[in-house]
């Protein structure tokens, strides 16, 4: 079928519009860059503005930075911060010990159980912390049916708090570890290690764990952040954690809560940066081999 010159010209023009070939490439690049900057500015503003406002409030005392010096001079601040950090590290260690072998075993030996495990790990999203803590007090407070007065000692209550935090961090830690395991051919690695004479502890500590290190670290970041800011469980178990301290401060002081908020932000980021540095120090890289 023949086409008139007009038809051909309009077709070419339409194609040019459709493919964008009619516009100079630099225009498009400039437009894309503009959109990129707008999105970035909105994101940064959303994140930084509240922090800046908090900073402004924290400077509200007659003497600049007085709220900060007051905070640093308060022993309760340091104690609660240290207490929460210790709880966070305990939670991370317990979570790794519980979740890495579980996720590994589920992937390797019982893949059918994975949906059930995933469901269990999502329960903390369904059961609110206040319900969880009342359940813990009910069961481990010394009353029936168990008659175990775990909450009657500081150590017992702290242990219970860490146990509750392990439950709270389940969805984050499990998903991180499971994603890490998905990226590694764990069956072949396990079998290769076995054929070379390695037993299960060697396989887990020297083959599997180092290869999901980054995933475990990202789970650890989230867990650390959750524990440092957690209020409900620590408060009901009467623990001197950072969350209840922050709440107490908010009720009794004007400018210090803002200062403490920013300090806690800074310290949490510092802790995360340290964990990231430790992670980066370990060499190696995970590669995924495509098998037809």
């Amino acid at each position: 079928m023949s086409q008139s010159p007009t038809t051909i010209a309009s077709t070419v023009a339409a194609q040019a519009v459709a493919t964008g070939s009619g516009k100079p490439g630099s225009h498009r690049r400039r437009r894309d860059r503009l959109v990129w900057w707008v999105v970035l500015i909105i994101g940064v503003t959303y994140f930084v503005l509240p922090l800046f406002a908090t900073f402004q409030v924290s400077l509200g005392m007659t003497v600049p930075f007085k709220a900060y010096t007051n905070t640093f001079n308060d022993p309760k601040f340091w104690y609660s911060l240290l207490y929460s950090a210790v709880c966070a590290i305990g939670t991370i260690l317990f979570s790794i010990a519980l979740i890495v072998p579980t996720a590994y075993w589920a992937r390797l030996k019982v893949p059918r159980a994975r949906p059930a495990i995933e469901f269990i790990t999502l329960l903390p999203f369904v059961v609110p912390p206040v319900v969880l803590v009342f359940g813990l007090i009910q069961v481990y407070g010394g009353g029936p049916p168990l008659g175990l007065p775990i909450t009657s000692t500081d150590l017992g209550s702290t242990f219970l708090l860490i146990a509750a935090y392990v439950v709270l961090s389940l969805p984050y830690m499990y998903r991180s570890v499971d994603n890490g395991l998905r990226a590694v051919d764990i069956q072949s690695l396990t079998e290769a290690a076995q054929s070379l004479g390695a037993g299960w502890p060697t396989i887990i500590f020297r083959v599997i764990l180092p290869n999901v290190r980054l995933s475990v670290l990202s789970g650890a970041f989230l867990t650390f952040a959750i524990v440092m800011g957690e209020y409900t469980i620590a408060n009901f178990l009467a623990r001197p954690a950072f969350g209840p301290y922050l709440s107490f401060l908010g009720r009794t002081k004007t400018f210090e809560p803002a200062a403490v908020t920013l300090i806690s932000f800074g310290l949490t980021w510092l802790a995360m940066a340290m964990i990231a540095l430790i992670g980066r120090k370990s060499r190696g890289r995970v590669t995924v081999v495509a098998v037809k």
Binding site: L189, S195, L196, G197, A198, R285, V286, V289, A290
Partner: protein, 370 residues
């Protein structure tokens, strides 16, 4: 008594029988290949030897010791995987030395052994690199060195070359065979590539649907297939169907052309008979005295580099026939539509029984005479 023995080995997964009645004796230092299509049970058998699967029945022995229930880490069997399975967090040297570290070998001895293995696989100087810094072929050589470093009683290779490109595959398979000969290690190699199996092995075990079809040296597997499946799976085959003319004299007719085979035929006069001929047994031209001749018209020509593959439509409704002719300098290949004579030695034709012919003819890579 073989060094590696499998006796009545059977493996079931729920209701599916993956391997059945598997018997094998492998002499010390032999190179055995398990050859078969996907799902034929070859990898499952290998995994049972490695200890990753437990046999449902039967026994596996190495050097007379029953290892059927021994856990994999206590078998001292080296394994090379299709996916290399190198530990990504370890350097090449650490990977090779892993098995020795697990065995608490002294550091100096590990260093010496690793260096020895790196020399063996021609990767000296690469010990400090990580697996992701190496090519696929290099990674597989490291995997081989890692498996050999522990001086295993048996070396198992599960389609180790499948993920590599063709050139590297050929080079590496020669290297594997050279190393195996040098170390004299008993080796079991799983592959679905007949060329690999034929070129590497002392013995080939052809498997289909969980059963052993034939065990024998490559020449026997290729030249005297015991079952239709083996004839079909290994190499290419022409299946000609004709009628028996004189059973005692081994004479039959294909279409309206007569041929005489070396051996008597079993059928009665007028009954149908099928014979299989490899394309490379057929040559262009009348051949020597005593050769069997068929005439036909060239209907297709494929240029395959060193050889030219020709498809012939036989005269007198004799069906079609594939044959190869070497692409020697100066060779003038036949042209499409040309009427040519081909010949083959009587002894190269294999008479198939009715069932065998039906099975063989049903396969797509076989030329069948209607």
């Amino acid at each position: 008594m073989g060094f590696l023995e499998l006796e009545g080995v059977r493996k079931e997964f729920a209701t599916h029988v993956a391997v059945q009645g598997f018997d094998l004796d492998v002499p010390r230092g032999d190179f055995v290949s398990f050859l078969g299509p996907s799902g034929c049970g070859k990898t499952t058998t290998l995994r049972m030897i490695a200890g990753f699967e437990l046999p449902t029945a039967g026994s596996i022995r190495i050097d007379g010791q029953d290892i059927s229930r021994t856990p994999p880490h206590d078998r001292n069997v080296g394994m090379v995987f299709q996916s290399y399975a190198l530990f990504p967090n370890m350097t090449v040297a650490d990977n090779i030395g892993f098995g020795l570290r697990v065995r608490h070998v002294k550091k100096d001895d590990i260093r010496r052994k690793v260096s020895e293995m790196l020399d063996l696989i021609h990767l000296a100087g690469k010990g400090g690199q990580y697996p992701y810094e190496l090519s696929g072929g290099m990674q597989q050589r490291v995997a081989l060195a890692r498996a050999l470093a522990i001086e295993p009683r048996v070396l198992l290779l599960d389609e180790p070359l499948s993920a590599l490109d063709a050139k590297i595959r050929v080079a590496l398979r020669q290297e594997i065979r050279a190393i195996q000969r040098q170390l004299g290690i008993t080796t079991v190699y799983v592959t679905h590539d007949q060329e690999e199996a034929l070129s590497l092995s002392d013995t080939i075990v052809v498997m289909s649907e969980g059963r052993v079809e034939q065990i024998g040296p490559p020449s026997a597997i290729y030249g005297s297939p015991a079952t239709p499946f083996v004839a079909r799976f290994v190499g290419q085959l022409n299946v000609l169907t004709g009628t028996v003319a004189d059973p005692k004299a081994g004479r039959m007719s294909v279409g309206d052309q007569a041929i005489t085979l070396g051996a008597p035929l079993t059928g009665a006069v007028g009954s149908e008979a099928s014979l299989a001929i490899r394309p490379e047994a057929i040559e262009l031209g009348a051949g020597e005295d005593g050769a069997q001749r068929l005439v036909g018209v060239v209907e297709d020509i494929q240029f395959l580099g060193p050889v030219i593959r020709v498809r012939l439509r036989l005269d007198g409704a004799g069906g079609s026939l594939l044959f190869d002719t070497f692409n020697r300098p100066g060779t003038v290949p036949p042209v499409l539509g040309e009427r040519v004579t081909v010949s083959f030695p009587s002894a190269s034709a294999l008479v198939l029984d009715a069932t065998a012919a039906a099975v063989a003819a049903s396969e797509t890579d076989i030329e069948e005479t209607p």
